[in-house]
């Protein structure tokens, strides 16, 4: 009675109805988008849909003919939607809603001989391992999704066995989850924290007089590999760095942390990959304690609020890695993200003050998923994985990129190419330059391996 082989579990038919989780095909209970289009004047969304359809066609992602006979492919969204880490989950779901609206309004995506509308099924994992396991089970076995997008980190171990047993393709924003034991896990958008080297490299080239740095980070799966990366980048560019200061996730008073950091009077204050809840008070403390140097950070989510809490002058020159998508530099020809400025305008109109580092990332991953599915002519996870990695390259949001990672993660499942360096100028994030991560790696890769090893972050040192 107890014998239930895995293949029987995996062959379960997905539910027709969707009582669990939240379905999201972008229509939000309204009339189908195709109907609405006939009834409205040309508005922002219509314009946006048309723009994206045009861009997609120009990019080879030929949309299917508008047809009521489209099939539906379900995509899982398994990320923190509530709690302290929700800033790196919920804004991404918002971005996916816009993406789905655009794609479905343009007639869906043509994969093989079929046309598909895309429907997102979300599950709030609260950044907890057990919830992530339940969520993955629901998405894979109950909902029959063909692809799952995750934030990763502490939640990935709960999903790993399900992915390995079912062959489900899963994406993470944190490549430090990658290892030879994770053949179905890919990092197709954000090669965190490796892209942080581009910020340090830009800083060293443009402000060579800055020679000393201090780093602080929360002591967790996000903070530690990021510290290793910044240490490697500082060493590569001749910037002397003090021992990093780690603080616990429970920290609420950042005054002593900042006092310790600033005691050596550094030129550069590095906030590593701290959560938004930490970046804000750290900046406030740095402001209150009179720091006059440059601040570099992986993210600056909701930076307008930081400016309000400090001052425009204090935040001038703050370096980080995530642009606002209204930046004109995103219209350069190598950029593969369709109509970024319009995407941003739509996003800000619907969810004001909610733009974060991940708002565009999950949508960008979906672009790559579509490319992979179209190459493979199938939506099945293993076919899409093969399609994505075909030729060893992919069209990353910021340009052509290569599948990489063997030396650092034990598996070539991270898509790496250019990444923007963003600086706050006059209260607004501005892309200063795109820098190549592979070029940096080819020159300084040994330093990255050295610091990853010292931090115990190499794939063979984990767990």
């Amino acid at each position: 009675m107890l014998a239930v082989p895995v293949h029987r579990i995996l062959n379960r038919e997905p539910k027709d109805a969707c009582p669990d989780g939240v379905r999201d095909d972008g229509n939000q209970g309204e009339k189908p988008m195709s109907q609405n289009l006939h009834q409205r004047k040309i508005g922002r969304r219509t314009f946006l849909g048309a723009t994206v359809a045009g861009a997609a066609m120009a990019g080879g992602l030929a949309p299917a003919r508008l047809s009521a006979a489209n099939k539906t492919v379900k995509i899982g969204f398994l990320a923190p939607l509530t709690g302290p880490v929700s800033a790196w989950g919920l804004p991404g779901l918002y971005g996916c809603r816009i993406w789905a609206e655009q794609v479905n309004a343009a007639g869906g995506v043509r994969i093989g001989d079929d046309s598909y509308n895309v429907e997102f099924v979300s599950y709030d994992n609260e950044y907890a391992t057990d919830k992530a396991k339940v969520g993955a089970s629901q998405l894979v076995f109950d909902e029959g999704v063909k692809f799952i997008m995750m934030l990763g980190g502490d939640t990935w171990p709960g999903v790993q066995r399900i992915s390995n047993e079912s062959g489900m393709l899963v994406s993470t924003l944190l490549p430090s989850d990658l290892s030879p034991d994770t053949p179905n896990l890919i990092a197709p958008c954000e090669v965190h924290p490796i892209y942080n080297v581009t910020g340090v490299s830009w800083l060293a080239d443009n402000m060579p007089e800055l020679k000393t740095a201090v780093i602080c980070a929360q002591d967790d799966a996000l903070g530690r590999p990021s510290v290793a990366t910044y240490l490697a980048a500082f060493e590569a560019h001749g910037i002397q760095s003090e021992d990093p200061v780690f603080f616990s996730l429970e920290t609420t008073d950042f005054a002593p942390v900042m006092t310790k950091l600033l005691s050596s009077n550094p030129d550069i204050l590095c906030l590593d990959t701290a959560y938004a809840d930490f970046v804000h008070p750290l900046c406030e403390q740095a402001h209150q304690q009179g720091f006059k140097g440059k601040i570099i950070s992986c993210t600056a989510d909701y930076y307008e609020q930081i400016i309000e809490k400090t001052s425009k002058e204090f935040m001038e020159g703050f370096i980080f890695q995530f642009p606002d998508f209204d930046d004109p530099a995103l219209n350069e020809p190598q950029i593969n993200f369709a109509a970024p400025n319009e995407f941003y305008a739509e996003y800000i109109e619907r969810w004001p003050d909610q733009w974060s580092a991940v708002s565009w990332e999950y949508a960008s991953i979906m672009d790559l998923w579509v490319q992979g599915a179209q190459r493979a002519g199938s939506v099945e996870p293993q076919d899409v994985l093969a399609g994505m990695k075909q030729g060893g390259t992919g069209k990353h949001a910021f340009g052509e990129a290569s599948w990489w990672g063997k030396e650092l993660f034990g598996i070539d499942n991270a898509l790496v190419g250019n990444w923007p360096v963003v600086v706050i100028e006059n209260g607004k994030a501005v892309i200063k330059e795109y820098r190549s991560i592979p070029d940096w790696w080819s020159m300084h890769g040994n330093l990255l391996v050295k610091h990853f090893t010292e931090m115990g972050e190499m794939y063979h040192q984990r767990g």
């Binding site: 107890l2 014998a3 239930v4 082989p5 895995v6 579990i9 379960r12 539910k15 009582p19 669990d20 989780g21 939240v22 379905r23 939607l81 509530t82 709690g83 919920l90 979300s122 599950y123 709030d124 907890a128 391992t129 057990d130 396991k133 339940v134 969520g135 089970s137 629901q138 076995f141 109950d142 502490d154 171990p157 709960g158 790993q160 066995r161 047993e165 034991d181 002591d219 967790d220 799966a221 903070g223 530690r224 616990s248 996730l249 429970e250 115990g456 984990r462 767990g463």
Partner: protein
């Protein structure tokens, strides 16, 4: 409550067991996963209640659950001890840890014990975060060996399947609950109650209250550690954040909402709140409103049922009897 030796009681008990056996077959795959965690959490709250019988409320119980999880994981992964053996050994390590902690902690009582237990738990949790060897640091330990599949002839039991692991947990938890119930109703258990309500009097008649409190703490920790071991080998990972204060607050909430007067109070609490939080509110698509609604349910429950959900039955019964009398 019905007479324990009566047919009605036995029939109710039999119906509950049949229901528990049938239950996973009417649930979706993910709900079966929730069921596994729920059964494990039942053991967590019932073991916690044993300590509260002596009048002490600890904030270290989830850390003790974590000690069982870490110990079982390390024994299985590093020393190669078979998982079925590592699990009870993990529980023993949790009990021994509690015994060591009892020396400083039971010099305190009431509120001071509560704060002391929080501090002791944090010390252990910070050790897990600080010492990457052997605890894995903040990321914890991944790829924890799972409970071995059983393949004998035609019988092929995979514990990847939540139904099978649920049945396994159900057996372990049922046996644990029976033992805890018998213990509570033994002479020692009755002494726990006496210490709770009249500790000075209990001392006056020769009861060594500190010894009994230590005993309750150690036994509660053994079963808590066992729950941790069950969790670790199912989840495949252990990390310090799983056993933090937030997790402990959930345990407190389950116990308080359910009530602590009877063994089934905390069970009702954890089952009700888990079903509401993980199934009902999610089914309603209220992902982002869940914390708000969950909080509202808690407040309502505490306002209108201060003695816990376990008091709802007797209250309804009383109201029904009064209505009949008036009629």
């Amino acid at each position: 409550m019905q007479e324990r030796n009566g047919w009605g009681y036995r029939a109710t008990l039999a119906a509950v067991f049949v229901g528990l056996i049938v239950l996973p077959h009417v649930l979706s795959f993910s709900q079966k996963e929730v069921l596994v965690f729920l059964v494990i959490n039942v053991l967590v709250v019932v073991s916690y209640r044993l300590l509260t019988l002596t009048g002490e409320w600890s904030l270290a119980h989830m850390v003790i659950v974590g000690v069982g999880a870490y110990a079982s994981t390390l024994l299985a992964k590093r020393l190669g001890i078979p998982v079925p053996l590592a699990m009870p050994l993990g529980a023993v390590v949790a009990a021994l840890t509690a015994y060591v902690l009892s020396f400083p902690l039971f010099r305190m009582k009431a509120f001071y014990f509560l704060i002391g237990s929080f501090a002791a738990g944090e010390v252990i949790r910070l050790c897990w975060k600080r010492f990457r060897e052997p605890f894995g640091g903040p990321k914890g330990i991944k790829l924890v060996p799972s409970f071995p599949d059983i393949e004998i002839g035609f019988v092929d039991v995979s514990f990847f399947d939540p139904v099978n692991y649920y049945y396994f947990c159900l057996i372990v938890v049922t046996v644990s609950l029976v033992l805890l119930h018998r213990f509570e109703h033994s002479r020692i258990g009755l002494t726990f109650h006496a210490i709770h309500w009249q500790d000075k009097l209990a001392e006056a008649v020769g009861g060594d209250t500190r010894r009994y409190r230590t005993l309750a703490f150690v036994i509660a920790s053994f079963f808590g550690g066992l729950a941790g071991a069950l969790l670790a080998h199912y989840l495949g990972t252990v990390n310090p954040n799983q056993f933090d204060v937030e997790a402990m607050v959930y345990v407190l909430v389950w116990v308080i909402v359910g009530g602590t007067a009877t063994i089934y109070g905390p069970v009702v609490g954890v089952v009700t709140l888990t079903v509401v939080n993980e199934i009902v509110l999610r089914e309603l698509g209220m992902d982002q409103a869940r914390p708000l609604l969950y909080g509202a349910i808690l407040i309502a429950s505490i306002l209108f049922l201060p003695d816990g959900l376990e008091s709802l039955g007797p209250k309804l019964k009383g109201a029904f009897a009064r209505t009949r009398t008036q009629v």
